[in-house]
Protein backbone atom coordinates (compact mmCIF):
# COMPACT_ATOMS: atom_id res chain seq x y z
CA UNK A 1 0.00 0.00 0.00
CA UNK A 2 1.27 3.48 -0.88
CA UNK A 3 2.40 5.59 2.02
CA UNK A 4 0.02 8.32 3.18
CA UNK A 5 1.43 11.81 2.89
CA UNK A 6 1.23 14.12 5.87
CA UNK A 7 2.21 17.75 6.28
CA UNK A 8 2.84 19.09 9.77
CA UNK A 9 2.84 22.86 10.28
CA UNK A 10 4.26 23.76 13.69
CA UNK A 11 6.69 26.44 14.81
CA UNK A 12 8.06 24.16 17.54
CA UNK A 13 10.79 22.75 15.30
CA UNK A 14 11.79 19.92 17.62
CA UNK A 15 8.17 18.84 18.06
CA UNK A 16 7.52 18.85 14.31
CA UNK A 17 10.71 16.86 13.73
CA UNK A 18 9.87 14.34 16.46
CA UNK A 19 6.41 13.79 15.00
CA UNK A 20 7.94 13.37 11.54
CA UNK A 21 10.45 10.87 12.90
CA UNK A 22 7.82 8.87 14.79
CA UNK A 23 5.28 8.77 11.97
CA UNK A 24 7.89 7.82 9.38
CA UNK A 25 9.15 5.17 11.76
CA UNK A 26 5.84 3.35 11.34
CA UNK A 27 6.67 3.07 7.60
CA UNK A 28 3.07 4.02 6.78
CA UNK A 29 3.59 7.73 6.25
CA UNK A 30 5.71 10.17 4.32
CA UNK A 31 5.90 13.38 6.34
CA UNK A 32 6.94 16.91 5.44
CA UNK A 33 7.30 19.60 8.09
CA UNK A 34 6.95 23.37 7.86
CA UNK A 35 7.59 25.81 10.70
CA UNK A 36 5.81 28.94 9.49
CA UNK A 37 2.19 29.59 8.62
CA UNK A 38 2.60 31.20 5.20
CA UNK A 39 5.14 28.66 4.04
CA UNK A 40 2.98 25.89 5.43
CA UNK A 41 -0.05 27.12 3.51
CA UNK A 42 1.98 27.25 0.29
CA UNK A 43 3.27 23.74 1.01
CA UNK A 44 -0.29 22.35 1.32
CA UNK A 45 -1.14 23.77 -2.11
CA UNK A 46 2.05 22.42 -3.65
CA UNK A 47 2.40 19.11 -1.83
CA UNK A 48 -1.34 18.22 -1.67
CA UNK A 49 -0.88 15.91 1.34
CA UNK A 50 -3.43 13.30 2.38
CA UNK A 51 -3.73 15.08 5.74
CA UNK A 52 -2.49 18.23 7.50
CA UNK A 53 -1.49 18.48 11.17
CA UNK A 54 -1.87 22.17 11.99
CA UNK A 55 -0.73 24.14 15.02
CA UNK A 56 -2.71 27.24 16.00
CA UNK A 57 -0.18 29.67 17.44
CA UNK A 58 2.20 30.28 14.56
CA UNK A 59 4.44 33.34 14.25
CA UNK A 60 3.32 34.83 10.93
CA UNK A 61 -0.17 33.52 10.20
CA UNK A 62 -2.22 31.71 12.82
CA UNK A 63 -3.64 28.23 12.35
CA UNK A 64 -7.25 29.43 12.21
CA UNK A 65 -6.50 31.77 9.30
CA UNK A 66 -4.73 28.93 7.50
CA UNK A 67 -7.60 26.53 8.20
CA UNK A 68 -10.13 29.06 6.89
CA UNK A 69 -8.14 29.56 3.71
CA UNK A 70 -7.72 25.84 3.15
CA UNK A 71 -11.43 25.15 3.58
CA UNK A 72 -12.41 28.01 1.24
CA UNK A 73 -10.16 26.88 -1.61
CA UNK A 74 -11.85 24.10 -3.65
CA UNK A 75 -8.42 22.61 -4.35
CA UNK A 76 -7.54 22.14 -0.68
CA UNK A 77 -11.01 21.86 0.88
CA UNK A 78 -11.10 18.04 0.72
CA UNK A 79 -7.77 17.67 2.53
CA UNK A 80 -8.52 16.73 6.14
CA UNK A 81 -6.99 19.00 8.77
CA UNK A 82 -6.33 17.98 12.36
CA UNK A 83 -5.57 20.84 14.71
CA UNK A 84 -2.60 19.82 16.87
CA UNK A 85 -2.09 22.42 19.56
CA UNK A 86 -1.16 23.08 23.16
CA UNK A 87 -4.21 25.32 23.51
CA UNK A 88 -6.86 23.61 25.55
CA UNK A 89 -10.04 25.56 25.87
CA UNK A 90 -13.58 25.07 24.71
CA UNK A 91 -13.78 28.32 22.72
CA UNK A 92 -10.65 27.31 20.79
CA UNK A 93 -12.10 23.89 20.00
CA UNK A 94 -15.42 25.49 19.14
CA UNK A 95 -13.76 27.89 16.71
CA UNK A 96 -11.85 25.03 15.08
CA UNK A 97 -15.07 23.10 14.66
CA UNK A 98 -16.85 26.15 13.21
CA UNK A 99 -14.05 26.47 10.64
CA UNK A 100 -14.50 22.81 9.65
CA UNK A 101 -11.40 21.29 11.22
CA UNK A 102 -11.66 17.53 10.95
CA UNK A 103 -10.41 16.87 14.43
CA UNK A 104 -8.57 18.40 17.36
CA UNK A 105 -5.67 17.01 19.36
CA UNK A 106 -4.29 18.69 22.46
CA UNK A 107 -0.56 18.37 23.08
CA UNK A 108 1.09 16.41 24.53
CA UNK A 109 0.02 13.35 22.57
CA UNK A 110 1.45 9.85 22.41
CA UNK A 111 2.49 8.44 19.06
CA UNK A 112 -0.13 5.74 19.43
CA UNK A 113 -2.97 8.21 19.99
CA UNK A 114 -1.75 10.42 17.17
CA UNK A 115 -1.66 7.54 14.70
CA UNK A 116 -5.12 6.37 15.83
CA UNK A 117 -6.57 9.83 15.26
CA UNK A 118 -4.91 10.21 11.86
CA UNK A 119 -6.24 6.83 10.73
CA UNK A 120 -9.71 7.63 12.06
CA UNK A 121 -9.86 10.90 10.12
CA UNK A 122 -8.45 9.35 6.94
CA UNK A 123 -10.91 6.43 7.18
CA UNK A 124 -13.82 8.85 7.63
CA UNK A 125 -12.75 10.72 4.53
CA UNK A 126 -12.64 7.52 2.49
CA UNK A 127 -16.14 6.57 3.64
CA UNK A 128 -17.43 10.06 2.81
CA UNK A 129 -15.83 9.95 -0.63
CA UNK A 130 -17.37 6.56 -1.35
CA UNK A 131 -20.76 7.87 -0.25
CA UNK A 132 -20.36 10.95 -2.43
CA UNK A 133 -19.25 8.90 -5.45
CA UNK A 134 -22.20 6.58 -5.08
CA UNK A 135 -24.78 9.27 -4.38
CA UNK A 136 -28.01 8.41 -6.13
CA UNK A 137 -27.07 4.75 -6.44
CA UNK A 138 -26.89 3.58 -2.87
CA UNK A 139 -29.26 4.75 -0.17
CA UNK A 140 -27.70 5.32 3.22
Amino acid sequence: MAKRTILIIDDEVSFAEMVKLNLEDTEDYEVRSEYKGIEGLAAVKEFKPDLVLLDIMLPDKDGFAILEELKKDPQTKPIPVIMLTALKSDPVKFKAAMLYADDFIVKPVTVRNLVEKIEEVLDNRIVEKLKKDSRGIIEH
Partner: protein, 264 residues
Protein backbone atom coordinates in the same frame (compact mmCIF):
# COMPACT_ATOMS: atom_id res chain seq x y z
CA UNK B 1 14.43 35.80 35.10
CA UNK B 2 14.72 37.57 31.77
CA UNK B 3 13.30 34.49 30.11
CA UNK B 4 10.40 34.43 32.56
CA UNK B 5 9.65 38.09 31.90
CA UNK B 6 9.77 37.44 28.19
CA UNK B 7 7.39 34.49 28.61
CA UNK B 8 4.99 36.63 30.64
CA UNK B 9 5.13 39.28 27.95
CA UNK B 10 4.35 36.64 25.36
CA UNK B 11 1.57 35.22 27.52
CA UNK B 12 -0.07 38.54 28.28
CA UNK B 13 0.70 40.24 24.99
CA UNK B 14 2.01 43.23 26.99
CA UNK B 15 4.77 44.16 29.42
CA UNK B 16 3.92 42.80 32.89
CA UNK B 17 6.26 45.33 34.51
CA UNK B 18 4.09 48.11 33.15
CA UNK B 19 1.05 46.34 34.59
CA UNK B 20 2.76 46.11 37.97
CA UNK B 21 3.54 49.82 37.97
CA UNK B 22 -0.07 50.61 37.13
CA UNK B 23 -1.36 48.14 39.69
CA UNK B 24 0.92 49.54 42.40
CA UNK B 25 -0.47 53.00 41.95
CA UNK B 26 -4.04 51.76 41.90
CA UNK B 27 -6.21 50.61 44.77
CA UNK B 28 -6.25 46.80 44.50
CA UNK B 29 -9.83 46.74 45.73
CA UNK B 30 -10.79 48.68 42.64
CA UNK B 31 -9.89 45.76 40.38
CA UNK B 32 -13.20 44.14 39.48
CA UNK B 33 -13.81 40.42 39.98
CA UNK B 34 -14.29 39.89 36.25
CA UNK B 35 -11.00 41.65 35.51
CA UNK B 36 -9.12 39.56 38.07
CA UNK B 37 -10.60 36.39 36.64
CA UNK B 38 -9.71 37.49 33.13
CA UNK B 39 -6.08 37.92 34.19
CA UNK B 40 -6.05 34.50 35.88
CA UNK B 41 -7.58 32.96 32.77
CA UNK B 42 -5.02 34.63 30.49
CA UNK B 43 -2.15 33.56 32.74
CA UNK B 44 -3.41 30.00 33.02
CA UNK B 45 -3.92 29.46 29.32
CA UNK B 46 -0.66 31.19 28.43
CA UNK B 47 1.34 29.25 31.00
CA UNK B 48 -0.31 26.00 29.93
CA UNK B 49 0.67 26.68 26.35
CA UNK B 50 4.28 27.35 27.32
CA UNK B 51 4.48 24.15 29.40
CA UNK B 52 2.53 21.87 27.10
CA UNK B 53 4.76 22.44 24.10
CA UNK B 54 7.95 21.17 25.75
CA UNK B 55 5.93 18.34 27.34
CA UNK B 56 4.77 17.36 23.86
CA UNK B 57 8.35 17.20 22.64
CA UNK B 58 9.40 15.09 25.63
CA UNK B 59 6.52 12.65 25.13
CA UNK B 60 7.22 12.23 21.43
CA UNK B 61 10.92 11.78 22.23
CA UNK B 62 10.29 9.19 24.93
CA UNK B 63 7.92 7.30 22.62
CA UNK B 64 10.63 7.23 19.96
CA UNK B 65 13.27 6.01 22.40
CA UNK B 66 10.88 3.38 23.77
CA UNK B 67 10.42 2.00 20.28
CA UNK B 68 14.17 1.84 19.71
CA UNK B 69 15.58 0.69 23.05
CA UNK B 70 15.56 -3.04 23.32
CA UNK B 71 17.53 -3.61 26.45
CA UNK B 72 17.54 -6.77 28.49
CA UNK B 73 17.71 -4.70 31.63
CA UNK B 74 14.04 -4.49 32.78
CA UNK B 75 14.83 -1.22 34.55
CA UNK B 76 15.07 0.51 31.16
CA UNK B 77 11.44 -0.24 30.29
CA UNK B 78 10.32 0.68 33.82
CA UNK B 79 12.22 3.98 33.67
CA UNK B 80 10.57 4.88 30.35
CA UNK B 81 7.20 4.06 31.85
CA UNK B 82 7.95 6.31 34.84
CA UNK B 83 8.81 9.20 32.50
CA UNK B 84 5.62 8.69 30.47
CA UNK B 85 3.53 8.60 33.66
CA UNK B 86 5.21 11.75 34.98
CA UNK B 87 4.41 13.60 31.74
CA UNK B 88 0.78 12.54 32.01
CA UNK B 89 0.65 13.73 35.62
CA UNK B 90 1.98 17.19 34.76
CA UNK B 91 -0.42 17.40 31.83
CA UNK B 92 -3.36 16.42 34.04
CA UNK B 93 -2.38 19.03 36.60
CA UNK B 94 -2.28 21.75 33.96
CA UNK B 95 -5.62 20.58 32.62
CA UNK B 96 -7.22 20.85 36.07
CA UNK B 97 -5.75 24.31 36.57
CA UNK B 98 -7.11 25.41 33.19
CA UNK B 99 -10.55 23.99 33.93
CA UNK B 100 -10.61 25.85 37.23
CA UNK B 101 -9.62 29.19 35.69
CA UNK B 102 -12.10 28.71 32.88
CA UNK B 103 -14.96 28.03 35.29
CA UNK B 104 -13.97 31.02 37.40
CA UNK B 105 -14.04 33.12 34.27
CA UNK B 106 -17.81 33.18 33.82
CA UNK B 107 -19.22 36.67 33.55
CA UNK B 108 -22.60 36.17 35.20
CA UNK B 109 -25.30 38.84 34.93
CA UNK B 110 -29.09 39.00 34.91
CA UNK B 111 -30.13 38.53 31.30
CA UNK B 112 -33.28 38.21 29.22
CA UNK B 113 -33.19 34.64 27.86
CA UNK B 114 -35.44 35.56 24.90
CA UNK B 115 -33.02 38.27 23.84
CA UNK B 116 -30.15 35.76 23.94
CA UNK B 117 -32.15 33.34 21.77
CA UNK B 118 -32.91 36.11 19.25
CA UNK B 119 -29.27 37.25 19.16
CA UNK B 120 -28.19 33.66 18.51
CA UNK B 121 -30.66 33.48 15.63
CA UNK B 122 -29.19 36.63 14.12
CA UNK B 123 -25.74 35.06 14.13
CA UNK B 124 -26.90 32.19 11.94
CA UNK B 125 -29.33 34.04 9.66
CA UNK B 126 -27.17 33.27 6.57
CA UNK B 127 -27.35 29.54 7.22
CA UNK B 128 -31.11 29.75 7.85
CA UNK B 129 -31.72 31.50 4.54
CA UNK B 130 -29.36 29.30 2.55
CA UNK B 131 -31.06 26.16 3.87
CA UNK B 132 -34.62 27.50 3.55
CA UNK B 133 -35.38 27.00 7.23
CA UNK B 134 -38.66 28.30 8.63
CA UNK B 135 -38.29 29.65 12.17
CA UNK B 136 -41.11 29.33 14.67
CA UNK B 137 -40.77 31.24 17.95
CA UNK B 138 -42.72 30.34 21.02
CA UNK B 139 -41.36 32.47 23.84
CA UNK B 140 -42.82 33.08 27.28
CA UNK B 141 -42.34 36.54 28.68
CA UNK B 142 -41.38 35.46 32.22
CA UNK B 143 -37.76 34.53 31.38
CA UNK B 144 -36.45 38.08 31.67
CA UNK B 145 -33.95 37.95 34.49
CA UNK B 146 -31.92 34.76 34.34
CA UNK B 147 -28.41 34.56 35.80
CA UNK B 148 -26.02 33.61 33.03
CA UNK B 149 -22.93 34.52 31.04
CA UNK B 150 -24.81 35.68 27.96
CA UNK B 151 -21.86 35.19 25.59
CA UNK B 152 -21.39 31.59 26.68
CA UNK B 153 -25.10 30.79 26.51
CA UNK B 154 -25.20 32.37 23.03
CA UNK B 155 -22.38 30.00 22.11
CA UNK B 156 -24.48 27.06 23.32
CA UNK B 157 -27.58 28.17 21.41
CA UNK B 158 -25.69 28.91 18.18
CA UNK B 159 -24.16 25.48 18.49
CA UNK B 160 -27.56 23.81 18.85
CA UNK B 161 -29.13 25.86 16.07
CA UNK B 162 -26.30 25.09 13.63
CA UNK B 163 -26.61 21.39 14.37
CA UNK B 164 -30.36 21.68 13.73
CA UNK B 165 -29.74 23.44 10.39
CA UNK B 166 -27.28 20.72 9.38
CA UNK B 167 -29.91 18.10 10.13
CA UNK B 168 -32.29 19.76 7.63
CA UNK B 169 -30.33 19.98 4.35
CA UNK B 170 -33.55 20.06 2.31
CA UNK B 171 -35.11 22.76 4.49
CA UNK B 172 -37.43 22.37 7.42
CA UNK B 173 -38.76 23.95 10.57
CA UNK B 174 -36.71 25.25 13.48
CA UNK B 175 -38.86 25.73 16.58
CA UNK B 176 -37.55 27.79 19.49
CA UNK B 177 -39.24 27.85 22.87
CA UNK B 178 -38.58 29.45 26.21
CA UNK B 179 -40.47 29.01 29.44
CA UNK B 180 -40.14 28.60 33.18
CA UNK B 181 -40.48 25.08 34.54
CA UNK B 182 -42.02 25.46 38.01
CA UNK B 183 -42.52 21.75 38.65
CA UNK B 184 -39.72 21.69 41.24
CA UNK B 185 -40.38 25.13 42.70
CA UNK B 186 -40.72 25.30 46.47
CA UNK B 187 -43.06 27.52 48.47
CA UNK B 188 -40.35 30.15 48.94
CA UNK B 189 -39.88 30.47 45.15
CA UNK B 190 -36.69 28.37 44.94
CA UNK B 191 -36.14 25.63 42.34
CA UNK B 192 -37.74 27.22 39.28
CA UNK B 193 -35.90 26.44 36.07
CA UNK B 194 -35.60 28.58 32.94
CA UNK B 195 -35.78 26.39 29.84
CA UNK B 196 -34.84 27.01 26.23
CA UNK B 197 -35.64 24.44 23.54
CA UNK B 198 -34.25 24.15 20.03
CA UNK B 199 -36.23 21.69 17.95
CA UNK B 200 -35.66 20.68 14.33
CA UNK B 201 -37.64 18.65 11.81
CA UNK B 202 -34.61 16.87 10.37
CA UNK B 203 -32.90 13.54 10.71
CA UNK B 204 -32.87 12.17 14.24
CA UNK B 205 -29.92 10.58 16.01
CA UNK B 206 -29.76 6.80 16.50
CA UNK B 207 -30.66 6.12 20.14
CA UNK B 208 -27.39 4.26 20.67
CA UNK B 209 -25.46 7.39 19.58
CA UNK B 210 -27.22 9.78 21.97
CA UNK B 211 -24.81 9.17 24.89
CA UNK B 212 -21.87 9.98 22.59
CA UNK B 213 -23.08 13.29 21.20
CA UNK B 214 -21.32 15.31 23.88
CA UNK B 215 -17.90 14.02 22.85
CA UNK B 216 -15.86 16.57 20.95
CA UNK B 217 -15.94 16.04 17.20
CA UNK B 218 -18.71 13.51 17.41
CA UNK B 219 -19.87 13.01 13.85
CA UNK B 220 -23.20 11.59 12.85
CA UNK B 221 -25.14 11.09 9.67
CA UNK B 222 -27.08 14.18 10.66
CA UNK B 223 -24.07 16.29 9.86
CA UNK B 224 -23.68 14.85 6.34
CA UNK B 225 -19.94 14.64 6.38
CA UNK B 226 -19.31 17.68 8.55
CA UNK B 227 -17.91 17.41 12.02
CA UNK B 228 -20.06 17.78 15.10
CA UNK B 229 -20.08 21.37 16.21
CA UNK B 230 -18.85 21.04 19.73
CA UNK B 231 -21.79 19.74 21.74
CA UNK B 232 -19.13 18.98 24.30
CA UNK B 233 -18.46 22.70 24.53
CA UNK B 234 -22.16 23.29 25.08
CA UNK B 235 -22.26 20.72 27.85
CA UNK B 236 -19.22 22.19 29.60
CA UNK B 237 -20.75 25.65 29.50
CA UNK B 238 -24.03 24.40 30.93
CA UNK B 239 -22.14 22.49 33.66
CA UNK B 240 -20.24 25.67 34.50
CA UNK B 241 -23.59 27.42 35.01
CA UNK B 242 -24.90 24.62 37.21
CA UNK B 243 -27.44 23.96 34.47
CA UNK B 244 -27.95 21.09 32.07
CA UNK B 245 -28.29 20.19 28.42
CA UNK B 246 -30.17 17.28 27.00
CA UNK B 247 -30.84 15.97 23.49
CA UNK B 248 -33.70 13.66 22.65
CA UNK B 249 -35.37 12.35 19.52
CA UNK B 250 -38.81 13.82 19.05
CA UNK B 251 -41.65 11.47 19.96
CA UNK B 252 -42.88 11.58 16.35
CA UNK B 253 -39.35 10.65 15.16
CA UNK B 254 -39.18 13.79 13.04
CA UNK B 255 -36.05 15.39 14.37
CA UNK B 256 -34.32 16.31 17.58
CA UNK B 257 -35.26 18.43 20.55
CA UNK B 258 -32.38 20.01 22.45
CA UNK B 259 -33.21 21.37 25.89
CA UNK B 260 -31.09 23.63 28.06
CA UNK B 261 -31.97 24.41 31.65
CA UNK B 262 -30.75 27.22 33.89
CA UNK B 263 -31.66 28.19 37.43
CA UNK B 264 -34.38 30.85 37.22
Amino acid sequence: MAKFKEAMKKILGRDPAADNRQAASADPDQLGHAEKMKIIDELASGLAHEVKNPLAIILQGVDFLASRVKNEDPNVAVTIEYIQDAIKRVDKLIGEFLDFSSISGLNIELTDLNEVINNSLLLIHNQLEANKIEVVKNYRSDVLEIRMDKNRITQVLVNLMLNAVQAMPQGGKLTLRSYIDRSLETNNGQGAIAVAEVEDSGIGIPEEDLPKVFDFFYTSRRSKGNIGLGLSTAKNIMDMHGGSINLQNRKDNNGIKAIIRLKA
